[in-house]
């Protein structure tokens, strides 16, 4: 792989750092070959990376005739990144080292119905304590990624549960930056989950993939050539409004038969409430505030073999499978991930049905396989991905992005 690099020294530095990171252990000569830069440039850049503590020398490689080359690797414990996932039910904080390895995790109460100002003040407090308890110096934190806050919570489902209008009008990023003194980057859940999968899953940058995220609604993060697809307004991945039934029910977005109306937890619960006896046997409440709880009960029952619940989950999964099939066909993907708290209880059923839909009908099935994989919900992919956003900010500023 030859990466042609421009002359800008900041960009060159971060690009070389990224090459070292993705190579694991590498020599200066190999960096010359991979980057297309001169040996003198590489020597200069590596010297400055070593001086800033980001890269260390770790020994000697095999000789190819002359002096044995010194090997370089990322000094993973030189800096840390923090990812925070804001959610109704819980706040999750994850600290990772530069290699994306988790060094600590904090779980605390969800944001419930509290106002953004109150939540952000609390997050700043918890963040300071989190770093103290991990014995991480705040100066060694490269940044904080924030998943699931503000503008990104814009679909109907989240709006209902999080009072998103209030969040939309609140400058989350700025507020947390001034309260914590750290650089804060914001990203939506699905995009964070996709990035987290890319980084932690050590997926090669040559492999494009998508991550479908299910919480109250849907999102889809698409990673192409190692970067997140961003679109015209950073609103890529509104898969919840892909039409999967042209004659389907009206959607709040103005269209009809959208995935969200047919497959989201709210719609599964609404269908369950209409099945005689199911409401009582599963203890479903059926109101807006209980969607998550009710959906979890249906998912658990399905996982334990309750037939009515299995049918409901399979129907939801079938629509998701159709939507993902279109994504796979459009982008010629060979890998998609399912992620998010929506898969916590009935993940195996979702995976089976979606896998079947995608693999049976993918247009490219005779050319290559399409892997449909589940990102384990206990892995907190959104929080890990948010930390990744902060990591990429320092490690790969040549791909730095800004929200539209």
């Amino acid at each position: 792989m030859v990466k042609q690099l421009g002359p800008s020294s900041e960009n060159t530095k971060s690009a070389i750092l990224d090459l070292i990171r993705s190579s694991g252990v590498v020599s200066r000569i190999e960096l010359v070959e991979m980057s297309g830069l001169t040996a003198a440039s590489i020597t200069r850049v590596v010297k400055s990376l070593i001086e800033s503590g980001l890269v260390i020398e770790t020994g000697f490689g095999d000789s190819t005739g002359g002096k044995r080359p010194t090997l370089l690797e990322l000094n993973t414990s030189a800096r840390y990144a923090v990812g925070i996932a804001l959610d109704d039910a819980r706040l999750t904080y994850v600290a990772t080292d530069l290699g994306g390895r988790i060094v600590g995790r904090l779980v605390s109460r969800g944001i419930e119905k509290l106002s953004p100002a109150v939540v952000i003040a609390r997050v700043a407090d918890e963040l300071a304590t989190f770093l103290r308890d991990l014995q991480i110096d705040v100066h060694d934190v490269v940044g904080v990624g924030l998943a699931g806050a503000g503008l990104d919570i814009r679909n109907h489902a989240e709006r209902a549960s999080l009072d998103a209008e209030e969040w939309e009008n609140f400058a989350v990023q700025e507020a947390l930056e001034s309260a914590s003194g750290l650089a804060v980057m914001r990203e939506n859940d699905a995009a964070s989950a996709a990035l987290g999968q890319f980084w932690v899953g050590r997926i090669p940058a040559t492999q494009d993939f998508a991550a479908l995220y299910m919480a109250s609604g849907f999102g889809c993060g698409i990673v192409a050539r190692g970067s997140l697809a961003r679109g015209a307004s950073s609103n890529v991945g509104e898969i919840g409004h892909m039409v999967v039934d042209v004659n389907g029910p009206d959607c709040w977005c103005g269209s009809r038969g959208c995935l969200e109306m047919l497959a989201a937890p709210r719609s599964v619960v609404a269908k369950a409430m209409l099945i005689p006896g199911l409401r009582e046997s599963l203890g479903l409440v059926g109101d807006e505030a209980s969607v998550r709880h009710d959906f979890a009960a249906i998912g658990r029952a399905a996982a334990q073999g309750n037939e009515a619940s299995i049918e409901l989950i399979e129907a939801s999964a079938g629509y998701i499978g159709k939507a993902l099939l279109s994504v796979v066909n459009l982008l010629d993907l060979d890998r998609v991930y399912l992620a998010g708290p929506g898969f916590e209880e009935a993940g195996a059923i979702y995976l089976r049905v979606i896998r079947h839909e995608v693999q049976q009908f993918a247009r490219t099935r005779t050319i290559h396989d399409v892997a449909v994989l589940m990102s384990d919900p206990a892995l907190d992919s959104a929080a890990v991905g948010a930390a990744t956003v902060a990591l990429q900010h320092v490690l790969t500023p040549h791909q730095r992005f800004s929200r539209g």
Binding site: R90, R101, I102, S108, R109, R122, D125, D133, G347, D376
Partner: protein
């Protein structure tokens, strides 16, 4: 908990947990248990801090630091061993703690008790219904206390052979292939990852699952449920155990005396691999 009043930012404390290496992401039992522990504590208005450390010394340093910095109301301990030095240290520091521990390892401290001997019994009963001529339990070397407890329980009778392998998936699978001979056998692995890898390895050497060789996992997970064929596994009720540990910690703090709760009994989830 304790001084907590429900107002944010007043008392910045909670429960601390030290885990080794990649256990949170690699061990589905621990991952799911810790997830449930965190959710239950958050629901009760407190928080869970999990911190990664490698080695007992690093772990001890963290307990000393938390004690000095006043950061934690209590500590959650996983995988308590015989004469566990961590138990001695936390007692000396006066740090309240509660553990998840095998019934043979609980000594006067708060704990959610898991019964490995009962789990072995459960697996034995399941195997008795299947009629394989041999049963092989593939586990780690002596330094793993849990492996020792299970191996001892299995080794009680001569009907289960215990094979020790390095604690790596590859070594476990190689040991299993090695131990197989011409007769039919059921092979039990500690982890879902090893069990899933074994499915592939057995296919490669031409052993059909489950006709010639059965595969069982001591850890149930999504991987077991979605492997081809799906893997029969022991459901150790990780999430329930995590919620119980939260209760145990909260009650220990409010009552100031040891609380012992029993983890729900595990069951074998029968799928196609055995």
């Amino acid at each position: 908990m304790g001084a907590r009043t429900g107002h944010y930012g007043e008392t910045m404390s909670g429960v601390g947990l030290v885990v080794t290496g990649d256990v949170l992401t690699e061990d589905r039992y621990i991952g799911s248990l810790v997830h449930a522990l965190g959710d239950s504590l958050a629901e009760a208005g407190t928080r869970l801090l999990a911190r990664v450390a490698n080695g007992l010394e690093a772990e001890a340093d963290i307990y000393h630091f938390w004690h000095a910095a006043g950061g934690m109301d209590a500590v959650a301990l996983l995988g308590v061993t015989k004469d566990d030095p961590r138990v001695r240290l936390l007692r000396r520091l006066g740090t309240p703690f509660a553990a998840v521990a095998d019934s043979s390892r609980v000594e006067g401290f708060s704990a959610v008790v898991v019964d490995n001997a009962a789990m072995v019994g459960e697996i034995r009963r399941f195997l008795a219904t299947r009629g394989y001529s041999r049963a092989i339990y593939v586990t780690g070397f002596e330094e793993s206390d849990t492996a020792n407890i299970r191996a001892a329980a299995f080794g009680g009778d001569d009907d289960v052979e215990v094979v020790r392998a390095e604690r790596s998936v590859r070594a476990a699978v190689e040991a299993a292939v090695e131990a197989l001979r011409e007769d039919t056998a059921a092979v039990i692995f500690d982890t879902d990852i090893a069990a899933a890898a074994a499915l592939e390895a057995f296919a490669e050497v031409g052993k059909s699952v489950p006709d010639e060789v059965a595969v069982l996992s001591w850890t149930d997970s999504l991987l077991c449920q979605t492997s081809v064929p799906p893997i029969t596994a022991l459901d150790r009720r990780a999430a329930d155990t995590g919620s119980l540990l939260a209760r145990c910690l909260l009650e220990t703090l409010s009552s100031n005396q040891p609380i012992v709760l029993n983890a729900p009994l595990p069951t074998v989830v029968s799928r196609e691999s055995a």
